[in-house]
Symmetry: D2
Subunit: 472 residues, 4 copies
């Protein structure tokens, strides 16, 4: 399961590219495929981008030093199957005869295919397969007078989930879609420079104070005069991606004022309330489920133990066990702690289930290490529907809960019992206070209730509802 | 603070080098500077070693494939300041006119300097600066008839802390010093092949069953006939390095039958008993102190929270904040979770304190994130004396607790209170049942009571006791 | 002095990408900054490109294996100061909603700036700073019905020097500008597959038979039906870049039926006829001047000797002598052979002089090695004017012969005499038999007689004629 | 065919390691497998060595900068099949309790096996498979008082071919075997620092003046007092490896006062005299045979042409043509110049023939490019016997001329005629004036007359004389 990206921008700091580097560093969990930074040196934009982790792309410090200037924007991109092409790595940098613009994007447009086709029919040429270029074409086609007006016009043409950061010769612009699917926050550094970032943990990384979140439908302008808030539409309805709270965001980030760790802990507490079971210990799947597991333990009064250990050096290991070794029990990423679980009844808390292969493997691991019982508790509702706003689940075929009942899944995983958090339990755990119907959260993966029309995806989606999968 | 190494051996498996790779993979936390594997193909030894993580040294799978044969031993070496020389990377591989021997070592000899000088005076030539070659020279100089007898004679000449694994043309030998400072365990794979490894987590990694620990003074022989236990001395006194339990070993390992996570949790519980304080939450320093922190929380009934987040991608970042950015609060490795700690009274549990710089920084981090009070609780006694058996603390100058009182340290760190676990609390937390005086544990870093003469280090040690440091 | 590129294409071979790799391999001398290949797998285009030598870009054989299909085009790009951006590396690959097109280019357009501005004013967005994208925009804007007609229309809009290779879903197209500034040849492989390549040495590399050169104004179509020749204009006037014969092309290539080594040898012979001098030996600057030097030696009867040796391992040496070492005579690329030149009168043959710094250094080298006299003979006329058709000399400021007389240059270089080949001597050495005025050769760098209007460069060029440089 | 190594040393230069780098740079042709430098900073030795070209080992300039001090020695090692081990890379650096010594070696000992076994029986341990360590053991075992006396005693115990450079805390020592098989020359830099190097081309590289060759049996001492010449034996008989003149050395080097290019040109002239043939042109195999070919052309009056072109970028290409492509004529390293050779009678001059596979391939290449006749002329006598003094031909099985007659070889190669230079023609071409029987040259590969006993190789050699090979 992949999140599209992390984005960052700063204006008014003499080491703008370096500040961006450290901001992106704390957004690295949002994307590991590629990274890039564009800086603004008195109106001239310098850029560098490459494949790999931020620290790999900028392993040579000179790369960073060449990105001179007081403004900068940056981007980290998620890891796909690794097509190894640099074309999609952002920020994009456009040099026109009359201006320079750089652009970074987090999200997914639902009308990209249509817009792209329309633009191509008018002669536009795209260089990447990402949606991101579309906004640039729309801006260039706009006949409005100012860049801001052209941008606002264009933002009303793109649909779906988007958080954009743009940099021109004299300003940074940040914009959020009318539902605010993706998080985007504003901070201020000690020297008064304003920054925008996908998550507040990036503000903490650079010692910046939180100012406010960018709101759905807003365009924020940061330039030498400071911070200005504008809107491109007032027809907004907050629907923050609930998977940000459940899985993607770092636990030290706050989204819409809610701390992610606290939300996760509450998910665990609510899960303990909804699906209690007698056992000797609570165990979380490292690292993303540790908060929920500790919430479950705290509410239930059952001790929280370290029953699974993650190998922190696994990241770049290309050598895999042979089939023969796999059968002999060789494994690399997770170890069950025999000394802890042997002969014990275990509650295993995980944050969510996509394909179910990991759940099955971990239950087996614990049983092999001697666990007497393994009760699987999932701190979110069953994932049954695809996402079109920026999470890379485009088809129901990848979702086991779209196909199997809870009992069927329990049998498949080999667990002794299985329960999911209810939708209501999730909503209360996060505790947003926006208006109905969405009360601020997008829960479409759980209930198929999408806050926007699906445009280009509508047909595909309707077809998928009729499929009965066979791959589980 | 650095541990010397991790070692591993297997005999009787058709993919011996690959098994060793996966075993070492789970020992990577014991050393990141370099790695190597030597295999035995029907009596001919193949070897490969290099600088970097195991996955870097063997990034090309062909390297591993060339290490054919049914037996193999391997080694991971700790990270020093990075002199970048491959000479010290093990296992060493010696080809003599009459035999081949490979050798891997974890530990530190206390009479290495004397032995080396004596050997050099007799014409010996050393290629590395490590102690490890010494054993090979002693074996070659021995006039005993069999390799085993020559090895046993030599093991009686080296003093200090050592766990050795050797491989000859027809067997693997593993030996442990008379105090058993370093852990060393025997396991058996599903195909009956025997393995030896520094920690039991390496046995789990390859699906091997735990057989028994190697005992102090033992030499274990593994060959085509199976496993044989012999002894090179009966004058033994178990004194397992207590820092293995406190800090070095992986929480999923068992040492002398005691699970490391459980021991750490008990340390936390005992600490809560000995040094209680009223507060809103308990926080552990990730990742090594999380077990102790959860023990403290459980005993005290104060909620355990995620108040600090570690950036998991930090490993290879060479770009550091400038002084200017550092002053503006830019940081890279640890973040305090403002949403959790703001306005709260925090108990911060850490496993140990060496120089104290990290403790100071973390207290500051929490205060900057709004923590109202920070009470520092250390889940081990104050480190006051150097180690000569394999942990890289050779001088008291690096130990803040050798210099400052607890009150002085509290002032230095900026914490609101500071307490350490007592020696007795540590001993009971681990719960070994060996005889007095050491009851199975080496506690010399805490009390200066070394289980062996210090030989070459004696003078230096006595001098250090007179020093009053000035660098804190 | 840099040539823009080498291009290659093949249609109808089951290992098309691999054939392209080996073809480009023999074109590597035309560009070392970057390389790329696009293949055609039953209508779907796969591409890969990167910075560095071809062998570096494809150091991982899997990269090449993924480029499946029966058609492929490729490109090597010249080395500039190394801005390190992959954006300009070709072939470009465009995926439209209705088609896919790949494009590779060798040459320089004289009306690129104007076209680009016009296109941008109509909304076009460019991603690279190269001229190459322009053709793609023109094709997409054309309203002609077939791709071939759109291409032909577009080829009439771009001016200057160009050799293009394009690949669509079902064909390869190759086109040459109306003057034929750049070489481009057609060959046929043993399996009947047609290939196009910048030089015939690439045909030899893959065992292909020479078919014919692409003629100025032609578009060649290669598809499943075989080879078709078409024209986009009949207003042509052959003017092959004479620097291809003098310096750029490999000596084993034939251009317009003339072998490059033979042409160079004739230049040397004619030079010996025009500028004889008594001496003990003839020496060539390795490697490009060896043919001319042997021609000079043969005609003059003076022995040809190896008086200069080039270090073949110098390529990637980043470590340079310090100023102190440079003053002590430390050098890396060329060595004078003291044992050959000491006490001798030397005729030093070089192919051409741009800035003159190399000439000066070599004369000095020979004198330091004991040469009694050094007579410099240049096997081409003085370079006095910039090139706008694909060689990277855009300003007269870089050309010493635009500023200094022959006597002044001789004094500057420290040589004992200096002579250049005459324009007539050059023309006769190559021996093309096209009509006047150009008789098939572009000699504009020597005489300022450009075969086409200069368009965007006209003003700049006129201004440069008035400059008297000061940097020599 | 591989030469063992290149060695270099300098004493008394503030940038000693950098001088050594540039000296080794011009010796890179003598070895590409690995490189290393050891420097002397006021008695403390720093070292660094690694696999690959010198420029790769020191690609990070900091590596070089750390090698501080006024003295340095260095080494480049030949390329074998690439076992990828750094253990054999030199200079070796030994740190004893009482001193430090570094050691670099070029050559091959004939009694290494015996010495090594004797030393091992006395307890010595070797770390590499090279002969080089042996000298260090002998020096340490010597009971003489001074280092120089111990060195001289040891030099009398090792037999075969050797050029050594050693560095201690206060001096550099260079020594050459009693036959002087390997070249070794002394130079002096502009600042008066003395240098020693395998070839004079390394002296030229650093602007040093040639002082004299090291003579067989000499030990040269360079320290703060300057240069001292001593001898370790007076029983010497000069027998310089004739393959140095024929193939290994750079053409710009002088060996024993004879320029290598000039010697090669004379070989070509003598060959033309001994084996004339009517033809249209003379062609040399690039790069090593160009001098001989130009000599043949000059003497015969037949024009010297560029009929073969070597791809200068081939070095690091790992991608090879498939069998299918190979059959279609795809090739990578050498191209025949069709425009030159088509329809012509060609004399092809090569320096020597080892296995004959290259000769066969080149003849075929020329025929495919249309050459009417190809007359192969080899500028050295047939190689029939192995070398034990430093060239990596240890068995007659690799030598086609040991197995086949000239007529048989001519048939095998597909050439129209084949002739070799006579032994006498070779000796006169080099023109050394030492006494009989060897007149200064080792010709053993041609006639089996070895200037020394073969010691450990004797049995193997006698056996090989009886073999009739089957692999040609």
């Amino acid at each position: 399961m992949n999140e599209e990206c992390g984005i960052f921008g700063v204006w008014g700091h003499e080491s703008a590219a370096r500040v961006t580097y450290f901001g992106l560093h704390n957004l690295q969990h949002r994307g590991q495929e590629g990274a890039g930074i564009v800086s603004n040196e008195e109106g001239y934009l310098h850029g560098y981008r490459g494949l790999g982790l931020l620290s790999e792309v900028f392993s040579n410090e000179k790369r960073l030093d060449k990105l001179r200037g007081d403004g900068a924007i940056g981007h980290v991109r998620y890891a796909t199957s690794g097509n190894g092409h640099v074309d999609n790595i952002q920020p994009f940098l456009f040099r026109f005869y009359d201006s320079q613009v750089s652009l970074a994007h987090n999200g997914n447009l639902t009308n990209a295919k249509t817009l792209r086709r329309e633009l191509e029919e008018e002669g536009a040429i795209f260089h990447s397969s990402s949606d991101t270029e579309i906004l640039m074409h729309l801006i260039r086609k706009s006949t409005k007078e100012t860049f801001l007006d052209r941008l606002k016009e264009s933002l009303n043409l793109v649909k779906g989930g988007f958080a954009y950061i743009l940099m021109t010769e004299d300003a940074i612009y940040a914009a959020l879609d009318p539902n605010g699917f993706r998080p985007l926050s504003i901070g201020q550094m000690k020297n008064k420079a304003y920054v925008v970032a996908s998550e507040t943990c990036a503000l903490e990384a650079i010692g910046a104070t939180f100012v406010r979140d960018v709101q759905p439908g807003e365009v924020v302008i940061i330039n030498d005069k400071g911070l200005t808030i504008d809107v491109f539409t007032t027809q907004t309805q907050p629907a923050i991606c609930s998977m940000e709270y459940i899985y993607f965001a770092r636990p030290d980030s706050n989204i819409a004022g809610v701390n992610v760790h606290t939300a996760r802990k509450n998910m665990g507490r609510n899960l303990a309330k909804e699906a209690p079971i007698e056992a000797d210990m609570v165990i979380g799947v490292p690292n993303s489920s540790l908060s929920a597991a500790s919430g479950y333990a705290e509410y239930s009064g059952i001790p929280y133990e370290l029953g699974l250990v993650k190998n922190q050096y696994v990241g770049r290991t290309f050598i895999q066990p042979t089939q023969e070794l796999r059968e002999q029990g060789v494994r690399m990423k997770l170890s069950a702690v025999r000394g802890v679980v042997e002969g014990k009844r275990v509650i295993l808390v995980d944050d969510s289930i996509v394909r179910g292969t990991t759940s099955r493997r971990i239950v087996q691991l614990l049983k092999e290490a001697g666990a007497k019982e393994v009760h699987l508790r999932i701190a979110s509702p069953p994932l049954k529907f695809p996402c079109f706003y920026g999470i890379d689940i485009k088809t129901r075929k990848e979702l086991i809960a779209a196909d199997l009942s809870i009992d069927e899944m329990n049998a498949r995983f080999g667990s002794d019992s299985l329960a999911f958090l209810s939708e209501d339990g999730l909503i209360r755990a996060i505790g947003l206070t926006f208006d109905a119907p969405y009360t601020g959260l997008c829960m479409s993966y759980f209930n198929g209730d999408y806050p926007t029309p699906l445009y280009d995806y509508e047909d595909e989606y309707q077809a998928s509802l009729k499929d009965r999968k066979s791959n589980f």
